[in-house]
């Protein structure tokens, strides 16, 4: 008898169980909804639409952010219990010469990458804007690298940098009778060598944005300048660049954040000794990755991420301040 009952229950469609549990709350919700006014109904719709996204932002964005700060105040290697460490992780960072090396590397990527890439991109965009013959084709050539995968291109450039007989650059140098360069093998040349493909890949985006900015400058300014008989250089300095300021601010901040977070290129171009030689190319993100997922020092790594956050915040704020004022 009992066994039969149990069997009968199993035979029922699976949806029955689902409805038995969620049916009542849904009915309650709907009947409550029906008794609302039109205005209230819209608010209900708004919150219904927002429910899943809000859950997502709380669980996947806000909680992890808080967790990162919380972890940075602890010592934890994933196996043992978490131990309160106060600010000692930050003290340890400040006393670590590797960290200061990494910190300086990160800023080198920023200080070299942003100005160089923006000047090149602006020059290209400024002249490309005046070109009509095959404009679209040339623009596509400059834009193409932006669509490549950083990992794939890091390996291509790594191949370029190899010593003879493999590397393209050293082969060209040999043809020209110039001394061979160590590139990725030297502590002084490695960082610019890693930076080059990152600049190369981002250039297309900056050119496209500059082109759009140039196009947005009203024609009448140029006409007025022409009537006044102003030279081209003056027009560039007095009209084009000031009116392009919103675009410039956006690109400076956007690309700076990109260079401060450089990782893919460094990781792939120095896989035999990540961040090498002698940490000379190691950026902050690589140090974080290494501390967290090779060293399993979660608290210490979290402290480094807090430093990264502060660096990004301070650099962006300073840039916005300086560029907006001028």
């Amino acid at each position: 008898m009992l066994a039969q009952d149990r069997n009968r229950q199993i035979d029922r469609p699976a949806t029955h169980r689902v409805w038995r549990t969620v049916g009542f709350p849904i009915w309650l919700y709907l009947s409550w909804y029906r008794s609302r006014t039109i205005r209230q109904k819209r608010v209900v719709w708004a919150w219904t639409f927002l429910s899943v996204p809000l859950l997502f932002y709380v669980v996947i964005r806000f909680y992890p952010t808080a967790d990162a700060f919380w972890l940075s105040l602890h010592d934890w290697n994933l196996l043992s219990d978490m131990e309160w460490a106060g600010m000692s992780n930050f003290g340890r960072l400040a006393a670590d010469p590797e960290f200061w090396q990494v910190f300086w590397n990160t800023f080198q990527y920023l200080l070299l990458g942003t100005p160089i890439s923006l000047v090149i991109a602006f020059t290209i965009a400024y002249y490309l804007d005046q070109v009509r013959f095959m404009h679209g084709f040339i623009r596509a050539l400059y834009f193409l690298p932006f669509l490549t995968t950083a990992v794939a291109m890091a390996w291509v450039w790594r191949w370029f940098y190899q010593p003879v007989p493999v590397g393209v650059f050293n082969n060209i140098l040999a043809e020209l009778g110039i001394a061979q360069q160590p590139f990725l093998r030297s502590t002084s040349q490695a960082l610019p060598s890693v930076l080059a493909p990152a600049i190369w890949a981002g250039l297309g985006f900056q050119v496209i944005i500059f082109l759009a900015g140039l196009r947005a400058i009203p024609q009448s300014y140029y006409e007025a300048a022409r009537i006044d008989g102003v030279s081209r250089l003056t027009i560039l300095w007095e009209i084009t660049i000031p009116l392009l300021k919103p675009t410039i601010v956006f690109l400076v901040v956007f690309s700076s954040i990109g260079f401060l977070r450089i990782f893919d290129h460094v990781f792939n171009m120095t896989t035999n000794d990540p961040g090498g030689p002698l940490n000379s190319t190691e950026p902050l993100v690589l140090m974080i990755y290494d501390t967290a997922f090779n060293g399993f020092q979660m608290g210490y790594a979290a402290a480094q991420t807090v430093v990264l956050f502060l660096v990004l915040l301070v650099v962006s704020l300073i840039q916005l301040r300086i560029l907006r004022d001028r």
Binding site: P53, F146, V156, Q162, G204, I209, F250, I288
Partner: protein, 294 residues
């Protein structure tokens, strides 16, 4: 920001900017300028061309710098694809990028729409809260995400790779900006016709912002297709690697067989290049829209 595209939303050549003002008869200076720009453009694509040409070469030809292989061969591609893993990684990347893009396009525009068109208490706070997540770098969240994935058993699953990117604050902000351009009258008319709010959003508001949706989709897809650090952290099973992570592993294995590494790199690059060739205009417009409004 103030970017004006022409009526068709294109960035056509010479419609504005300095172009018309400087339009002059062909002079030697202009020819030099054009040639320099053209050569610059060719230099820009050289790494890609070198990669593709080397992937078609036999090992003994790799050290030869000529761009056109003397005896082109698909040997490398056959070798790499026979391995089977590349195909798997390709499918993984495609699945993950597609699923994330669909989710982002759906939820980002939904949230953007709600924040733009609905008036209710707490709207402003929610907007600021979502926007503030833009200030948090992904790298800061990877450790908590990893711990979360570990405790929920999401390591080495598709969901584990995808979950951090299912919605973006950037997309929400972008879509909110674009829904501002949709007149309230349209929505009101639909409401009087008896459509519910979901139908209004889906069948009235969404079709009016398709340029923005495609811009967002391009950006999100590209971002996920090339994403590296998070898939690298969350996957240890080679069957679940995405293309970039797989390519790293593969390249490290090959060590000095550059023609094979170039083949792998080509396989990771060719799909996006093909898509670009077909949808060039939309992609460039999308990047401009997303870049300037976002």
């Amino acid at each position: 920001m103030t970017a004006t595209l022409d009526a068709a939303g294109r960035l056509g050549a010479g419609e504005g900017g300095t172009a018309r003002f400087f339009r002059t008869p062909i002079r030697p200076g202009r020819i030099v300028m054009w040639t320099l720009l053209f050569l610059g453009g060719i230099t820009m694509v050289m790494p890609i061309v070198f990669m593709l040409s080397t992937s078609l070469k036999y090992p003994h030809e790799v050290f030869d710098l000529s761009l056109i292989p003397q005896e082109p061969t698909l040997e490398n591609y056959i070798y790499v694809l026979e391995d089977g893993r590349f195909f798997r990684w390709f499918i993984n990347s495609l699945l993950i990028a597609t699923a994330t893009t669909l989710s982002c396009v759906f939820f980002d525009s939904l949230v953007g729409y709600v924040l733009c068109k609905f008036k209710f208490r707490g709207r402003y706070i929610i907007f600021i809260a979502i926007l503030s997540t833009l200030m948090i770098p992904t790298e800061m969240l990877v450790i908590p995400w990893y711990l979360m994935a570990q405790s929920f058993g999401w390591l080495d699953t598709y969901w584990g790779i995808m979950f951090p990117g299912m919605m973006t604050a950037f997309g929400t902000f972008l879509m909110k900006q674009f829904f501002e351009t949709v007149p309230d009258d349209f929505l009101e008319a639909a409401r009087i016709d008896g459509m519910n709010e979901f139908q209004i959003w889906w069948s009235i508001a969404m079709p009016l912002v398709t340029p923005a949706l495609s811009a967002l989709a391009i950006f999100i897809f590209l971002g996920n297709w090339t994403a590296f650090i998070w898939p690298l952290i969350v996957t240890t099973d080679s069957n679940l690697y995405t293309l970039p992570v797989g390519l790293t592993t593969f390249s490290v294995e090959q060590q000095i067989d550059w023609e094979l590494i170039m083949t792998g790199a080509s396989l990771a690059t060719i799909p996006t290049l093909l898509v670009f060739l077909f949808f060039q205009r939309y992609i460039i417009r999308g990047v401009v829209l997303a870049g300037l409004k976002g």
